[in-house]
């Protein structure tokens, strides 16, 4: 490949400064984060009393957010590992997007768990006195492991790109140059280095799949090992994993569209990518729908007395509007949009992706809260507000702040590092040209 084409790729994919839109975006997210921090300050000062969580609903939107973050983080393993191991070449431009979504989501999953604690300064007790028999400890271990593996999976493919970035010293500015040098000055494009990196990425791609499955299965077991209506299910592991793949893929489609549009990456994130990711989304939505049918139809068919109130609450009662909203926005409508070729064009696919992500957040809320409002023993002699859960502004602000924080991490990453791997793109373009040549 000639130098001109290579330079063009580098130029196109080189991290860009925030424009006017980018600055507004960053300021908006920072304000949301600041409000969240203020609300958390109030929570620290006054205690969990500022939330609407009480004796029965002790897991509110913080834990819904946690499950959502863990779910969306699984996309790293789907796009990077599963597609890499199955030798799917078209996913190359999407790998880094998927990995940074995974890293930022898992970071905020860990943070939101601490937020949910009434006395976060006692967090260390979890390590000092935690029981190996408890799924909470499994979750702590597996989240830490997944975070490290995701970081490594982000870092290894970044090494060749760092060498390219370091070459543009004047363009980078002092701090960025220092960062690039610190992270990758030792990369010399030596064949031995490539050999080690390729091997490491392959090992990571294999290792991350069971860890990713564990992280969300263990999260599902936090619920399923508790004997309560709506959680007492053997289907929960698979149900959570399928839902996680769906929301993760939806998140990637949304990010693809935003980056493509903002950084003008139409040449690299093509309509073909949206078409393929659209098909992946349909498959995952159908899979998740299948597990939803299993999760709700079988208990509804039996309608055990102890579960009746919970199930009717979801189907026709207090939570019915959210339940049907989540089912339609996370599954039916995206399937309907993406089944058609025109629906897999960038804009409709983006809309479908947004619907999946939004619907999936509410789905996580429905997994956590309604069950807590329907204990086996009836609620007696409790204040009226114990029978309902309406999050306070502090909870919304903190949850919103954490979501904005995750988006900020992704935004700053895209500002500092190439969101599409430069080196791999050059190699793939070269290989395409060679194929054409022969």
């Amino acid at each position: 490949m000639d130098k001109l084409k290579e330079n063009k790729i580098v130029e196109d994919l080189f991290p860009q400064k925030f424009g006017k839109q980018g600055t507004i975006w960053v300021i908006s997210l920072s304000i949301i984060c600041a409000i969240g921090l203020f609300a958390y300050g109030r929570q620290l000062y006054y205690g969990l009393e500022v939330t609407a969580m009480r004796d029965y609903v002790s897991w509110g939107i913080y834990i819904s957010n946690f499950v959502f973050f863990v779910a969306i983080s699984l996309v790293g393993s789907l796009i990077t590992a599963v597609l890499r191991l199955t030798d799917v070449k078209w996913s190359t431009p999407l790998t880094r997007i998927a990995e940074i979504i995974a890293v930022s989501a898992i970071t905020f999953a860990s943070l939101i768990i601490i937020v949910d604690m009434g006395r976060p300064e006692r967090f260390y007790n979890l390590f000092l006195h935690g029981r190996l028999q408890s799924p909470i400890i499994w979750d702590v271990i597996v989240i830490t492991t997944y975070f490290i593996i995701s970081l490594l999976l982000l870092y290894f493919p970044l090494l060749p790109d760092l060498k390219i970035l370091i070459a543009f010293k004047e363009r980078n500015g002092k701090w960025l140059q220092k960062l690039y040098v610190f992270l990758g000055s030792f990369w010399k494009n030596k064949p031995e280095q490539f050999k080690i990196t390729d091997k490491a990425i392959n090992i990571l791609a294999i290792a991350i799949i069971p860890v990713a499955f564990s992280i969300h299965t263990v999260t599902s077991w936090l619920f399923a090992t508790t004997y309560r209506p709506g959680w007492d299910s053997t289907n929960f592991g698979a149900y959570f994993i399928s839902g996680a793949f769906l929301v993760g893929a939806g998140g990637v489609v949304v990010a693809m569209y935003v980056f493509r549009k903002h950084y003008k990456l139409e040449k690299y994130i093509t309509e073909d990518h949206f078409d393929r990711m659209g098909k992946v989304l349909v498959m995952l939505a159908l899979l998740y729908l299948y597990f939803n049918v299993n999760e709700f139809l079988v208990p509804a068919f039996k309608m055990k007395k102890s579960e009746e109130e919970h199930l009717l609450g979801l189907f026709t009662g207090e939570f019915a509007p959210i339940f049907w909203f989540a089912i339609f926005t996370a599954m039916f409508i995206p399937i309907f949009i993406l089944l058609f070729k025109k629906g897999r064009k960038p804009l409709p696919a983006f809309i479908a992706g947004v619907l999946v992500v939004v619907g999936s957040w509410f789905k996580r809320f429905l997994i956590v809260t309604p069950t807590l409002l329907h204990p086996f023993l009836p609620m007696h002699d409790v204040p009226a507000n114990y029978h309902h859960y309406i999050p306070t502004w502090e909870e919304w602000a903190i949850a919103g702040g954490s979501l904005a924080g995750a988006l900020l991490v992704i935004t700053f990453f895209a500002r500092i590092f190439p969101i599409i791997p430069i080196h791999e793109t050059i190699l793939e373009t070269e290989s395409h040209e060679n194929e054409k040549h022969f």
Binding site: T145, F186, W187, Q193, K199, A200, I203
Partner: protein, 290 residues
Amino acid sequence: MKMKNIFKTVLFLLGFIPTFLNAQAVEKKILVLGVKYYNDNNISQHLIIQAKSKIDGKFQKIGNIPVKVFINNENDKNNFIGTGTTTERGELLLLVPASAKTEWSKSNNQTFVATSTATTLYDEARGELAITKAKLKIDTIDGKMVHAKLLVLIDSTWKPMVGIEMVLTVKRLGGNLNISETATYTTDTAGAVTGEFKRENLPGDNKGNLVLVANVIDNDIYGNLSAETTVPWGSKLIYSTNYNHRSLFARRGHSPFWLEFLAYGIILAVWVVIIYLVLQIKKIVKLGLE
């Protein structure tokens, strides 16, 4: 015409005023006070005052009723033995205090009087219970035979009383269990009953001790009497705990071996891979510096 109609309507409504005013005066209900006497193992005595009222055709227990209790004469403040308010279950438990000893010693027959003043819902009430002083004794004879005797104070002498029903039980899990299939016993001419203890291998304390109880229950003349004695007829309680056992529900550091093996095995396997990969970075760095 219109004014005439309004006038008629006002007159019609005024007609209801007396009915409305009458409705304001709530009719107070009749309150019944019941008194029960208990002699506990000849050591202490207590009374239970029960407040009841007929609501919807049924007697219901009434709580929050202030009650004063006297011995023999409610008009003499020296005979006042206590006061209190009935609980939600309509009961007031009152220990007979040492201050009542002088009055208690005056006669073989005693009357306990409970009074309550009128409240917003209930009329004033009075209840009384007359009892004759009696006591129960319990002992064992010939192996596992339980022997109880009822004595009544007549002319300053304790004399046996014939034909009184009582039960012989053993304390078990917060209740009383009959010592055999015989539900009740009747005192003979010596005022005694004898029953065979047939509860073999009943768990006792760590020395195998059981508490035998003889009870006269709700007797019209003597009230409720009880006597207890401890016998080593039970099986010894051997304390065992699974606190230190390894199980899924045990404390930290006591998880089952299979779980520890599995969990630590998996953690180790994954972290060995991670450490290996971190070492590969070191290798890449070294190659770059060569």
